[in-house]
Symmetry: D3
């Protein structure tokens, strides 16, 4: 799998979604999970899931932070290199994690945090050097609007189903999920698609019009094949 | 607990929410879960939870209906007298259950079905004689928009957290959840509150104005105490 | 004004909105305020406004019901024949009034209650015999999600501005507001418009096509004039 | 095609959506288009489309009703037996048609009106005897919030793409669209599916559990085949 | 018209909306269409419209990109200097255009792209040097959620009606549409309004209070006239 | 109070919300009110409220700007150092204030403008040097969608109740409201909480795991006490 990961780091999330569409999968881009710091590059990793349900006032309290099922305990369970994906049900009024939790995740070499909710302590989160995809920022803590219930379960995130072990790719166009058994396919096809699009770009730059080029007709396919042959 | 259940069948959901507010709980009424057939009376029972995440096209298929983790298997696991509560993430475009599943639940003496989503086969569901609280009706099956992932886990339903074993009360004002360890309290206080409100109604009927009556000042408290004494 | 009110009781809300559009007013129909009991007829009356803001936990408590600025005090200030219009900010999770308050309003000869929010104790409200236009029903009380702040101020209701003294007309198509100084105009023009539409209906019934009839060309205008002359 | 139409009148919209899902089509149920008068039966017909864009105050006026591109002209262009499907962009504050237009459509033997918007003059529309699927009712006319721009173009309705000539089926579970070249398939498969489900119902009634029955395992398939053989 | 265009390049969209309000037009600012790269200056041009409807899985496929009615063909039909305005129905989960299409538009001297939807390949789009107003970015292609159906038809965009030939002005406050026959009026009045506001700014800077200044009373009008006279 | 204000300028809004949660207050962060220019620092001040209702076409006109109850008059009533908080009902299509009004507020030493709506003339507002928290920008003026009705009344803003005299704290995580009689408590507890969190940060930096540290167990409490003692 690590070879596929190396390739996917060079494949845009836009291309990943097109490859998945060829397999009939349209629900793979997580709505609301956009880069907190755009321009930070692409991340690839296995999903480690976190699950919240709505607040219940007798459970979601500052005291709950010390319980066995807590965001703190979940962070200590995260394997190195994983991408934490949190189901916040799209709630935008309670930050699931603040700077201290994010610092600890960075310390544990978690690769990224992705959520359809929001974070808090924005300045501290940006300083912590953990790439974050989220819907934005809010001052209140998670317990203000959410109750944490567990990790490594199937979750919803931004309109997608995420299963532990699915592979996540995230860049400036957002975050996408690849079902585990399609990872090799997406990597291989995606790499070729990127190559083809880079040729299309060069064609557009020299003034070629789009119909017949993108998608290619037979003549364009031949020109592309020639270009590709010359390159290798 | 069964005595508390007997009392709760005479306590409105409106009163239940007021009793819970006295304990600081504001998130107890499930948004979107309204009676499919209003006027059908009140139900009380323990929550049996069902959980959906968004559709993933490779998993949410008609074929998935035969898998071990399926809505069919969940129904066979429901204990008699429970109230099934389904987390459909508020999705209103895919009916979580149709007439056949609802008939089977009725056959198994499930007391009611409650969801923040919708059902399908409305005519058949009404005929099946299982009380249903939902957001409405849609023709497509759950697999059109949802993937079923498990039962008897903590869930979200209509903006509330529901834990297996919580107690559900539902009537024409909707469906509410009572945390397990507040059930006795709500039953006892709720019964007294209903008694007090029935006296207030009689006062309003004879033209008494609201300030001083509801909530009562000392004079009204005395009159109520007298009325109550006479009744017992 | 009472003559205008008599006429307006025979003018549909649909017609009222068309008359107001001729004066450039498009924001007059209150979104979300639909009849709790359809088929109950049309009501006309002056607006008595009520205003809520979001819940603040230290203020919106059952105890607040006894304070000088409370929904109870507001009800006692309502003049006979008025229509109470409540700005609930479209909140659908807390019932602004329950059966007891509605009973008291009926007792005080308030003509109707209109809100962009919801009510509670649906069964009791229906029994109280006060016509209600609202978005639906919820079990929790207003203090669960709202704080009452005053009456007879300008308010928002269902996307409309309502000023005390504006005139409200409500029927099965919903509730509309007429600015005070357009009431005579709307009544006069509306009555004529209803007469014209009843003639159009008879024309459609005998198979006349719509272009040239509705709106009328010169020939249709002449036929209508003749029909009208014969009637009077 | 008329034979397929006859069959489809006996196939529920729920079943239609399942048959379309087998062909990979998930977007076929129109969100918001629910029966104005539930219990009125199923309709089947070819789509005749109507298209609105947002209001522009210089164009959307009562005067526009007399223009060549108007809802009036569109109605006169509707062929007998068609189902009019109107793209109102889900706008719920302006009724696209009122009683007079609906009466004229009924007179022209249009089979039904379907929209993701709302109608006005609810009482008159119900009396006109044209089945209507819509999101509800509003007093203002279409020109209050919409500009009519044409008919028999591809449209959006309730999250679905509708092309002129597509086939519409609508019942108490809402309205679905069948792409023209899948109509024969859906009719044939749908009829068989209905037969199979009626057998499943009888099995559930005698207490058979769902796993193994729905979907059927080999043993159930054999029992069904026997039942089917006996019936024919 | 080109003189009016030259003037409009010096008139803010804020001022354009105020001039249109004087003519009774309130629906002219496209909700959701905000600059992808703020600070890039103002654009003015004639609208060239593009229309999408929801996805239909049998039509919205990568293969459809090669069809005669495709976004590719539409781009080749765009005249130099036009502003492409795309009705994406506000869909935020499928990017209507990616970097390659945007590059081709820039090559063809299209002035700008405006949509109530989103784009994809954000980095590439920014590099292509075509000003873009949109709701944001998403990785999936248009076919993931939309079906392209045509160009140069009336469309909806961000709650506005856009007709081919309308004039678009867009800057950091968003994008507005001017009906064709109001362009001269808006240019002339807008220019004078900008002049007046620049005088008001100088007055505010020297400490003059707003009542009596903005809008001006007679004394302020006289001072402004004097200032204006001195300047010319 | 001014001492409390000095302390609060060193307390994050995130911490303020946690201190208020300890008092049972969850509704204190204003949804939609985010910094127009992030990174501009924290502001603290007393709330001066402004209230809008929806547009009514006969009242919300450019002419209304000269009336006694107008945004202009409200600005002249603002005391030095206050924070203006405007209830725009979350409307995102009409800018409540433009550059000229914002310049005047800055001139009057208003400390900040906070709204759940939007502003217009973004470039000019940024230049005016008044910190602004809002939902974004729109070209149209307030009268396009709103009617101004008064100042220094209780209002709704971003889902919170704001009363004149409440204290506002705003920074990059948004804007929060502190009820007047909790200001001393929040300042005192908040300062200590910030101190504790700065120690936690140093612990996380040296690799300490979160369970037992945040919240602290007895051992961590002792270490913190020692650290604190050394510092003073």
């Amino acid at each position: 799998m690590s070879e596929a990961f190396d390739i996917l780091r060079r494949v845009t999330t836009a291309t990943v979604t097109t490859m998945l569409l060829k397999k009939g999968i349209r629900h793979c881009w997580m709505k609301g999970a956009m880069p907190l710091a755009p321009g930070g590059g692409r991340v690839v990793g296995e999903a480690f899931t976190l699950r919240f349900v709505p607040v219940r006032e007798d459970l979601a309290t500052p005291e709950s932070w010390g319980k066995p099922i807590s965001t703190r305990a979940a962070i200590e369970a995260m394997p190195e290199g994983c991408i934490a994906v949190a189901d916040a049900m799209g709630v935008a009024t309670a930050g699931i994690f603040g700077d201290i939790l994010v610092m600890r995740m960075a310390k544990r070499n978690v690769r990224a945090l992705i959520t359809d909710g929001v974070i808090r302590d924005k300045a501290g989160c940006l300083a912590a050097n953990l790439p974050i995809w989220c819907q934005g920022t809010a001052a209140p803590a998670s317990v203000n609007g959410l109750t944490f219930v567990g990790w490594n379960e199937p979750i919803a995130c931004g309109g997608c189903a995420i299963f532990p072990g699915d592979v996540i790719v995230a860049d400036d166009d957002g975050a996408v999920v690849i079902p585990q058994d399609l990872v090799e396919y997406v990597a291989a096809e995606g790499e070729e698609h990127e190559r083809y699009e880079s040729w299309v770009v060069s064609e557009v730059e020299r003034g070629v019009q789009l119909p017949g080029l993108y998608p290619p007709d037979d003549e364009a396919k031949a020109r592309y094949a020639a270009w590709k042959a010359k390159r290798s």
